[in-house]
Amino acid sequence: MAYRLKRDLLKDVDWVTDMKLRIGYGVVGNSNGINPYETLTLFNAGTRYYDGSNQSYLYPNSYSYSQNPNPDLQWEERIGRNIGLDFSLFNDRLSGDVNYYNDKTEHMLYSYGVPTPPFIYSSIEANVGSMSNKGLEIALTGKVIKGDGVNWTVNGQITFVKTKVLSLSGTYDGYPVASNDIVTGTAAGRGLTNTNLTYLVQGDPLNMFYLPHYTGVDANGNEEFDGKTLAQYSAAGEAVPLHYIDPNPKFNYGLTNTFSYKNWSFNFFLRGVYGDKIYNNVLMDYQTITRLPAANTTVAAINSPIKDGLQISDHWLEPGSYLRLDNASLGYTFKNVKGFSNLRVYVAGNNIFVITKYQGLDPEISAPFIDQNTYPKARTFTLGTNISFK
């Protein structure tokens, strides 16, 4: 539903070119999580088995039940509520929109834990939980210079999102199912099998870290967490205190600039993320002297006060904020060249620089925000021409 303010209320305000207030409500179904036939009992070629009765083919495939079927599977529903303002001011020189939304996903599709027995598999795809997404999106476009020869347009947008898991348990067909404290990310490295880092926690954003808090080292270089070493906790019969840390970004932003001057055109696009945290698993694995001399370490490891082995903690959690010049291009268009309807030469680059405090290869790490040697983005430069003949 929208209300165009310009039509009556602001009809006589000159500097407002157009303004529209809108509110929306909608329910959108999403079945992306459902694979075909997830509602049925299916057999799959499973593990091979030994069949002594057939010496010519000793290891045939077994056929087994491949999933817990859920005949009641349905779409999840995202109930969208938003309020927004579209505006265009000063004769279209400044335009933009502001949009606030508060969505709630119900009957959330997820692979929920079920008890074994009686189920064969420990999870079932079901519509159980709920999740909320709240966000504010602001997009502005300014035509800073508008003229015959020179044009400069700036387009910026910023997005704040808060996602919260409201519920992960409930009942499916009278059966209790639950997935609270589901592990979403684990550490990698020697001696770190079964070491969990991130969890889905009811009432919190997605992918919460749950870690000991590093406070320094003792005289022997053993790491201390909240003031005590692991050995001290163990001797006292206490558990190491763990803390929830939300790694999700505070906001994302982007800025596009477009210039043109006579035959020249120049664009660049900056974008970034602010306030996220990344677990530098790679640094944790290498910034240790306990692997010497068999494995490489960082130089910093030798000077590091930490002398003991690999311990997960918030010490390895780094700010992941970054600003990236995602792309830029400079072009020149030749006008009125005989035989050509269009002749343009340009040079363009992708991923030209990244400004970040993050020590790993690339701060652009998707959820669950654990850097395990993610392949960094390539930097490319392109020299090109667009030609069309008459």
Binding site: F43, T47, S62, S64, P115, I120
Partner: protein, 530 residues
């Protein structure tokens, strides 16, 4: 150009969408009205997947479906299976010390050793899941067999049904042995909210009657049913149930345990393999001693990672492996020392200077030390270079050249050697020392150690002999608990080198019900003490 304006375009699309929102809502409302109409069409015929209706028609399909009841076996008896880890590392015959930071793994190995296991520890749920997936797979197969129209039933349906029931009894026994109070679910169509725990006594009573009724219907062993539960495999399950009866119900059943062992021994179907370690070689299908095994294959049936878990990194060159072993599992010093030098079974341990296959002395590449494996494991965790070489490694299951991580040695669940030991223990506890002596001396003579006289046949000696014969075959935890329950000596709960103090009480006889199960089934009650 297109690349550069990529995001602009996206914005444009979003803007367009917003402008069309007014149109979208009525469309959605319309769609919502249509959706209920669609549900009926979802019951469409499936052509490209296998469902209950279009499978289970030929004997091969039946066999391939029955096989799923056996596949969970590959996740039970070998390292690093959860069931293996819980049974072995909580006993006194296997330790996984923290070497520097290697094998710390969140402290789980230290917790199993010191009997401070948490209900969140990975192996707790993995052991639970291995056994319960066996139980539910058996339930599933039994349900299919019953629901088949009689014309489609395999000719040997009654024998197959009995075999799956005995196999299920094996899974249930293993589950009950670790966790005590377990859900006894024997019908595939059980309503999940009705699943509650049964006491060990109730499970015991069910297993006894189930086994007695079904074992007589099973097949005799033959090469064609290698890896299957045969008649004598069934009697070994029953012998185990009776042997540990006092743990489960408080009432010992020595006589019945001995009788079941006798049935196996006197069947003539098996004899002791002259060379003890031949039962565990890569091609051990020919063993005349093994009764119930899990077939593995380095290419087709993974799950036997013995060599990977225990051998030193440098042993890759000793056995020409294609992947580096992980230098983990080893024998505690005291347990290794219980073998005498003349005992041929001591050859299961790897110690001293390690050599490459061409005879060159190996070094530990990580530290530059000569690779000399020491029997001493005197700390639970030690960052010293030398500690990487601590602890006797097991080559009981022979490493297989050209493999990494998975080998082809069949995993031995039951063998005749153990039947003799069950017989000896049951007879001794029933006051028949003469029969006990005969039975145990079969084992001792085969091992190349002097036969015992009457004076040697004491309960502690028998427990030690059982340790040597059955080392790392996942019976030790039960053995220690059983002797502790029967004789009141803290074999299981007592202090242990390195670093284990006396347990505060006997709740450690059982493991905690895993967190994942507690969350998903609110009917479950945690075992006392956890």
């Amino acid at each position: 150009m297109g690349q550069i304006f990529h995001l602009n375009k996206k914005n444009l699309i979003i803007k367009k969408m917003k402008k069309h929102f007014i149109i979208i809502i009525p469309v959605l409302l319309l769609a919502m009205l249509i959706v209920p109409g669609c549900t009926k069409q979802l019951d469409s015929k499936v052509y490209d997947q296998v469902t209950e209706d279009n499978f289970f028609k030929t004997p091969q399909q039946v066999n391939a479906t029955l096989a799923q009841a056996y596949t969970p076996m590959t996740g039970i008896p070998m390292p690093p299976d959860g069931a293996f880890n819980l049974n072995e590392v909580s006993s006194d015959e296997l330790i996984v010390p923290t070497r520097g930071n290697d094998w710390y793994d969140g402290g789980k190995w230290q917790r199993y050793w010191t009997h401070t296991t948490l209900y969140t520890d990975a192996d707790v749920n993995s052991a639970w899941s291995s056994y319960t997936s066996g139980v539910t797979a058996c339930n599933f197969v039994l349900n299919l067999l019953t629901s088949l129209p009689s014309a489609d039933k395999p000719a040997n349906a009654s024998q197959v049904t009995a075999e799956i029931k005995v196999l299920r009894a094996y899974y249930l026994l293993g589950l009950m042995d670790l966790f005590g109070n377990i859900p006894l679910v024997t019908n595939f169509n059980t309503k999940p909210s009705s699943v509650v725990q049964s006491t060990p006594s109730q499970v015991y009573a069910f297993l006894e009657s189930e086994l007695l009724a079904n074992i007589p219907l099973l097949q005799l062993p033959s090469p064609s049913n290698f890896g299957h539960m045969t008649k004598y495999g069934g009697y070994m399950v029953l012998a185990h149930l009776y042997l540990n009866a006092q743990i489960y119900t408080g009432t010992p059943q020595w006589g019945k345990a001995g009788a079941m062992a006798d049935t196996v021994i006197n069947s003539g179907a098996y004899s002791l393999q002259p060379n003890y370690l031949d039962n565990f070689i890569v091609a051990n299908q020919g063993s005349v001693e093994n009764i119930f095994v899990v077939p593995f294959n380095n290419l087709y049936i993974g799950g036997n990672s013995w060599e990977t878990c225990t051998l030193h990194y440098s042993n890759i060159y000793t056995y020409n492996l294609t992947g580096q072993p992980n230098n983990g599992y080893c024998s505690p010093t005291g347990f290794y020392k219980s073998f005498t030098a003349t005992d041929t079974r001591i050859k299961m341990w790897e110690l001293g200077q390690q050599y490459s296959s061409s005879g060159a002395k190996l070094t530990d590449l990580g530290t530059g030390l000569l690779c000399i494996i020491s029997p001493y494991v005197l700390q639970l965790s030690n960052p010293a270079d030398s500690f990487r070489l601590a602890g006797a490694r097991s080559i009981k299951y022979a490493p297989q050249p050209g493999t990494a991580n998975n080998t082809s040695n069949a995993g031995v669940i039951y063998r005749l050697g153990e039947a003799y030991l069950i017989k000896a223990e049951a007879a001794l506890r029933s006051g028949d020392a003469a029969s006990a002596l005969t039975a145990v001396n079969f084992i001792r003579v085969r091992a190349g150690v002097p036969a015992w006289g009457t004076a040697d046949l004491t309960l502690p000696n028998l427990l030690a002999e059982r340790g040597r014969e059955m080392a790392w075959e996942t019976t030790r935890r039960d053995d220690l608990i059983r002797f502790e329950v029967a004789d009141g000596i803290p074999y299981f709960t007592g202090a242990r080198i390195p670093g284990k103090s006396q347990d505060p009480d006997k709740h450690t006889f059982l493991f905690p019900i895993p967190q994942a199960q507690m969350i998903t089934n609110s009917n479950l009650k945690q075992n006392p003490g956890y």
